[in-house]
Symmetry: C2
Subunit: 571 residues, 2 copies
Amino acid sequence: MKIENIDVSSYPNSEKIYVGGTLFPEIKVGMRRIKLYPTVKIEDGRRVEYPNAPVTVYDTSGVYTDPAFAHDVNAGIPRLREAWVEQRGDTDLLCDITSEYGRARASMAELDAIRFPLRHRPRRAKEGRRITQMAYARQGIITAEMEYVAIRENLNNAELGIESYITPEFVRQEIAAGRAIIPANPNHPEAEPMIIGRNFAVKLNTNIGNSALSSGIEEEVAKAVWSCYWGGDTLMDLSTGDNIHETREWIIRNCPVPVGTVPIYQALEKVNGDVKKLTWELYRDTLIEQAEQGVDYFTIHAGALREHADLIGERLTGCVSRGGSIMVEWCVLHNEQSFLYTHFDEICEILNKYDVAVSLGDGMRPGSTHDANDRSQFLELDVLGELTAKAWEHDVQVLIEGPGHVPMHKIKENMDRQMAVCHEAPFYTLGPLTTDIAPGYDHITSAIGAAIISRLGTAMICYVTPKEHLSLPTLEDVREGVIAYKIAAHAADLAKGFPGASVRDDALSKARYDFRWKDQFNLSLDPEKARRFYLESRRDAPDADDRFCTMCGPNFCAMRISQNTAEKCNQ
Amino acid sequence: MKIENIDVSSYPNSEKIYVGGTLFPEIKVGMRRIKLYPTVKIEDGRRVEYPNAPVTVYDTSGVYTDPAFAHDVNAGIPRLREAWVEQRGDTDLLCDITSEYGRARASMAELDAIRFPLRHRPRRAKEGRRITQMAYARQGIITAEMEYVAIRENLNNAELGIESYITPEFVRQEIAAGRAIIPANPNHPEAEPMIIGRNFAVKLNTNIGNSALSSGIEEEVAKAVWSCYWGGDTLMDLSTGDNIHETREWIIRNCPVPVGTVPIYQALEKVNGDVKKLTWELYRDTLIEQAEQGVDYFTIHAGALREHADLIGERLTGCVSRGGSIMVEWCVLHNEQSFLYTHFDEICEILNKYDVAVSLGDGMRPGSTHDANDRSQFLELDVLGELTAKAWEHDVQVLIEGPGHVPMHKIKENMDRQMAVCHEAPFYTLGPLTTDIAPGYDHITSAIGAAIISRLGTAMICYVTPKEHLSLPTLEDVREGVIAYKIAAHAADLAKGFPGASVRDDALSKARYDFRWKDQFNLSLDPEKARRFYLESRRDAPDADDRFCTMCGPNFCAMRISQNTAEKCNQ
């Protein structure tokens, strides 16, 4: 599968490996193993090779990089969790979808041409049963998903004798405490389980989505695969154009990572963008529609209240969250409290039937460094804390969304306050951007903030592309954004002392010192770009493993000089 | 002047302004004033305009963006500080250059074709006089340079009533204490004074330089201008190819910012790369040669000692500093202590005659996160502290160079230790890179570290381009590197509460909220790119000030919705 001339079916010199479960022998966790070349030394005039152990890295690309898999977009990808869910025996396979809108769309013959060809019956909790990962965890049950993520978070540790605290039981405890979530709607069994929590590797979310000028189905699926290939851990479909119900189906059926949405967007599309016409009933139906398609988490701006309308005027940049601005506008137009807030218990009752996690949106996130940590923001955060407790009463898994634009010195206050008032529910932040003055480079202004806040405990960061504030991102922008955020997440993992995090750094640095150029490229986050940059100035010898690079040239290579020195000292 | 199709003679909607001195009425400090469009509101059906005050920004582009200036590369740029130095009456204008190498080059007729056409006689301290900014500061003298930088560090403060602690007397105190430096060789009077110290705006250095495959003179000058245009505060010429003496002359004569070099590079070229042949005498002559050309600061790896040879083997990536590896190699080859260390007093005696600042190189900076904060590094740092005290005895201004590769959790230890053992001399760091796994993106891995360490007190950061570790940067890479570092520096200024730092952020954010797109571009660090990105998806209406962007489209603009809400609440 080629996208933008990059083969997204494989990484150079890597193999897909699967690690089996112990509690659940049927699970097999996909990882990528990067094979390394030996270190070559000349000893007593002879060439001696010292092998280098392969490095296993976290792999979000799913079956797309499994050579045994042939992708057919019309069939979707394997439904790996279907049997696990089935075996638990606490869900019903419904005869038909239950949302009004879903049914109406299903009956429209003119949509047949753009509809995903297979129909999967939706699955829902049996009456009286609680099927969320949190519900299981609280009952002391370790699920297959929990063992899966425990294996996934331990990469090279067994081989290297690194002792990790991450066991299936630890995963269960974290989920039971609300400190971590596994977004895992039974209706999206294609997704490989992953965990979001501050005691696990920092995760990153990417956003895709069509707009009024809809792109084709294949293109949307390609975007999703592209994002997973580069390292996106979850994917938000923020489509606002036509046929978003059908587009979403194609994405979910072909997506190996959890999918999130902001249901209010589609609800607003259903009333042609007229905020006043939004109703709880319409929104409720949208939740069911999307839950039955398999959305794994919903962003719900239930903390943006009527009270915020009066506070917006205090700000330099008002309200910059789409969902938040819609809800506050609705409150003003109706002179009523937000229906997301007043109906929050009913929302949770829907969510827990499908194990859809709630990501409590920060409708009042600051849109400028000026507005960071202000009254609007912290008032909402308090409300999100209250709603967290409520969601947990329903065993609904919770994420808390965070800012936004925050200068460096205000980041810690944000993190500390979120931990305190939201009872340690995982924080999921957009950036934050640490300055406002660099449109065109906001993947960098925000990678700085994302690295800092992740180190302090944020569990997942939502990427920002170079086009933020300016335009819709291209595929190339998506790649730049994902890599910037992989850097932020990994830098935080290193700083947190996450078990095994430094293995890849050390292997790459050793390859660099050994002049094993190919290993240096293959171990990097973006092997294609690293190799291309290197070759830009070395077209003459593209495969040479020269003992210098063009940065310093042959006479000035510190690493070579220093190796000579070290050898002399050892003689 | 056009470079890469960008007009580096002007910034959009900006004017060059000059602010005069009080103590020294003859000085005029160049700044850039960005003019803004009015905010337009519809009130009672009428269009009302509210003017927006212009924003003044720090300007490193020198005369190149002065419309009254016509550049002639053969004449160089105006020698603005010449009269100031002259007036102090403590320097001699030498009849001829005094370095052997410089004289030899001057007498070679075959170099006439590539030589800078004007010859300026070098200036040196009169016998027994101390002419460094530190010497003046310690005597209680405020120089023109000190008032210049005090004005330069206060941008919008007077207009906005912001009280800044930065006065000429404060500058003097900081320099006297060694906490800040003004690199200002009298032989580089073309450079506009700037200050490096943790109580001032964070500065950034860029590196240029030809290599064995030398680029043309015009190209080197273009690189220097390009770097200054985007925001480089100082420029290091790291040339290692042919004719570097002559190339340097062209650069200095046309460079409006202080220039630094690493003299050991040229010394090594003089002995054809044979480390063993390096001598103190050769190095000494190189210092004089470069000082008389006008180099403002020298990186000197005098802390890389013979003792380090045995420590290199402990590391994953040995010694990755070119200067450091050369000196340790020299020590091993000669079984002697480094001549930079043993002759350090003599070095200082040369430097203080020309007010060349010493930037004590970190030859043992870690080349991987694995090696950060290890014995080699901290042993050297202790030596740098000892040398700092020695340099100050000679009134030589000091910078301390810092790492390198450092994971986030080890950055603070670096900064704190530098402050403690180097007596608060300004820290000048390369990055640091916070992870090793992203070659091709090391401007980002390092911008994260640079922002963090600057906030903690680093005074100047040395940029890293996307090509770091892989290849020599192109002009486009230089631009990416400079902007990434402007972001890091500015994010740190905001976090430190630097007086007036938030003015530009707030103006840009207000422009964004007002949908004043052109102002948003013009206020940004890279107006050309911001505008280009915006237009990529709006080719139909390139100059429209639409009240939305293509990211969210017309129905989903949170800012517009929130403005409507705020207006309703005010009615």
